[in-house]
C-alpha cells in the first residue's frame, strides 16, 4: 500500500463512489417508482426500453438532456440557474456523511465505507437538507410566474415546520445513543442489541412521516401538486435544469431513507443478531443489509404515493403543529424519563 494509493487514489475513488451512489440510486428509483405505481394500478408500466423497462430512466435522461432549456424573459437569470445546482449540491454533499457499512481491512489499510466521520455528522446532514429548501424557494420565485411562486411559498412553510418534529425525534435518538456521529449510533445499536426503531416506535413514525413531508412527496406533495399548481415550483424549468430538480428530489428521498435506516434500524447490522439459527444472515456484508433496508423504505415511499390523496395546505400545517410537535415533545420527555429510570 504505497502512500500514493492510500493518500490520493482511495480518497478520490471514494469521492467518485459517493457521487455515483446517489446517481445510481436515482436511476433505480425512477424505474422503481414508475413500475410499482403502475403495477399497483393494474397496468404494466414501462417495459419497452431495455429489459423490463430498465433503460427507461436513461431514456428520460437523454430526452431531458436534448430538450431545449427555456427560460422566461423576465426570470431572474442568476437565481433561475443557480437554484437547481443548489438543490442538487446539498443532497449530494449530505451523502458524504452517510456510513454505508463496516470498515474493510485492505491489508494494513482500513478502508472506511464513508467519506467523513465527524462527531456532528447528523447535524451536518440536517443542515444540508434544509439548504435544498433555498434552491426550491429561489427556483420558484425566480421563475417570475404565479404558479411557481405559490409552489415556492408552500414549500417554505411546509419544509420549515416539518424540520421541528424531525429535529426533536432525531434528538431522542442522539439522547439515547449519546452521540451525533452516525457510525457511533450504529455501533451503539449493535452494542445495546436492540434497534432504536423498536425502542422508540413513536420517534420512528413521526420521523418517517415528517421525512416524507420534508421531501415534498406523496400525501404532502403540495409544492408540486400537478392538479393544482400545474407543476409547482419547477413549472418553468425544462431540459437539464428540470432533470436536476427531478434527480435532487429522488436523491433527497434516498437520503431520508438512509437516515431512517441508520437512526432507527441499525444501518448495516444484520437483523436478529442474537438468534443463533439465523446466524447465516451474518455472512452477507453490512452494505447489502443497508441496501435491503433502504430499498424497503424507498418502496414504501412509492407505495404511499400510489395510495393516498393530497393534503390540503391548512390541514398539512395543522397536522404538524397540533399533532407532530406536541407528540415529539412528549416522546422526548418519555425517552428522557426512560433513560433516567433504567
Amino acid at each position: 500500500m504505497t502512500p500514493f494509493v492510500a493518500e490520493v487514489l482511495i480518497p478520490v475513488g471514494k469521492v467518485v463512489a459517493v457521487i455515483l451512489y446517489p446517481m445510481v440510486m436515482v436511476v433505480v428509483m425512477i424505474w422503481l417508482e414508475r413500475r410499482v405505481v403502475a403495477l399497483m394500478q393494474g397496468r404494466l408500466g414501462p417495459n419497452r426500453v431495455g429489459f423490463q423497462g430498465l433503460l427507461q430512466p436513461v431514456a428520460d435522461a437523454v430526452k431531458l438532456f436534448f430538450k431545449e432549456n427555456i427560460m422566461q424573459r423576465q426570470a431572474d437569470t442568476f437565481l433561475f440557474n443557480v437554484s437547481p445546482v443548489l438543490v442538487m449540491f446539498s443532497s449530494l454533499l449530505a451523502f458524504c456523511f452517510v456510513p454505508l457499512g463496516e470498515p474493510i481491512m485492505l491489508g494494513s489499510y482500513n478502508l472506511t465505507l464513508w467519506i467523513a466521520e465527524s462527531p456532528v455528522g447528523l447535524l451536518i446532514i440536517l443542515g444540508l437538507s434544509s439548504i435544498s429548501v433555498f434552491g426550491v424557494i429561489f427556483g420558484g420565485w425566480a421563475s417570475n410566474s404565479k404558479y411557481p411562486l405559490m409552489g415556492a411559498l408552500r414549500s417554505v412553510v411546509q419544509v420549515l415546520s416539518y424540520e421541528i418534529p424531525i429535529g426533536l425525534t432525531v434528538l431522542t435518538v442522539v439522547f439515547v445513543a449519546r452521540s451525533m456521529d452516525l457510525v457511533e449510533i450504529v455501533r451503539r445499536q449493535e452494542a445495546s442489541g436492540v434497534w432504536y426503531g423498536f425502542l422508540m416506535p413513536v420517534s420512528f413514525v413521526v420521523f418517517w412521516i415528517s421525512g416524507i413531508a420534508e421531501t415534498n412527496r406523496a400525501p404532502f406533495d403540495l409544492p408540486e401538486a400537478e392538479s393544482e399548481l400545474v407543476a409547482g415550483y419547477h413549472t418553468e424549468y425544462s431540459g437539464m435544469k428540470f432533470a436536476f430538480f427531478y434527480m435532487a428530489e429522488y436523491a433527497h428521498m434516498v437520503l431520508v431513507s438512509s437516515l431512517v435506516v441508520i437512526l432507527f434500524f441499525g444501518g448495516w447490522l444484520p437483523p436478529f443478531p442474537s438468534v443463533k439459527a439465523l446466524s447465516f444472515l451474518h455472512a452477507a456484508p453490512g452494505f447489502v443489509w443497508y441496501l435491503v433496508k433502504i430499498m424497503f423504505f424507498l418502496y414504501l415511499y412509492v407505495w404511499i404515493r400510489a395510495t393516498f390523496p393530497r393534503y390540503r395546505f391548512d390541514s398539512l400545517i395543522r397536522l404538524v403543529w397540533k399533532w407532530f410537535v406536541p407528540l415529539s415533545l412528549l416522546n422526548f420527555l418519555a425517552v428522557a424519563l426512560g433513560r433516567f429510570l433504567l
Binding site: 403495477l39 394500478q41 393494474g42 397496468r43 404494466l44 407505495w303 404511499i304 395510495t307 393516498f308
Partner: protein, 160 residues
Amino acid sequence: MSRLKRFLKMAFLLDILQGLGVTLRLYFSRKVTVQYPEQVQEPAPRFRGILRLHRDEGGEPLCIACKACQRACGTNCFDIEGKKEEGAKVMRPVKFDWKLDRCSFCGFCVEVCPTAAIRFSREFRLTGTGKVGLFFRLPDMYLAGEDLQEHLCAGCRRPQ
C-alpha cells in the same frame, strides 16, 4: 363508545393501513394492459370502423349511384356522380368522392343504402399524415388492410 372507537382508529392509523392494504392487494392483481402493436384487441362484430364499398360475388360493384347516402349524410362527406352505360341494366358510379375527415361514423349511409354496397369495416387504424390521405376516390373506397394504410399515408414526405 363510537367516539373512543373512532379515536383509536385514528390513533393507530387504521384508515391509512386499510388503504395501503388495498393497493398492496392490487399490486399482485391481474394486469389489464394490452400490448398494442403486438397484441391487438379484436373489435366487436358490429364495430363501426372505416366505410368500405363492396362488390358482389361476380366482382361487379354493388353501388348503383342512387345518392341515397349522400342525402342521408349529415356532414355531407359524399360527392357522387352516376352514369348508365348503354346495355347496362343499372347505373354505376363514375365519381365517388368521400372525405374521411368529415365522417362522424353515424351509420345513416349504411342504413339507407338499398344494395348494402357501403358498410362499416372493423378497421380502426385510421391515422393519416395529411389531408390528401383522408380523401377517398372511387377506387380507394375498396382498399383494405395494408394498401389502405398506404393510402392514408399518401401525403407523407418521409421516404417509404
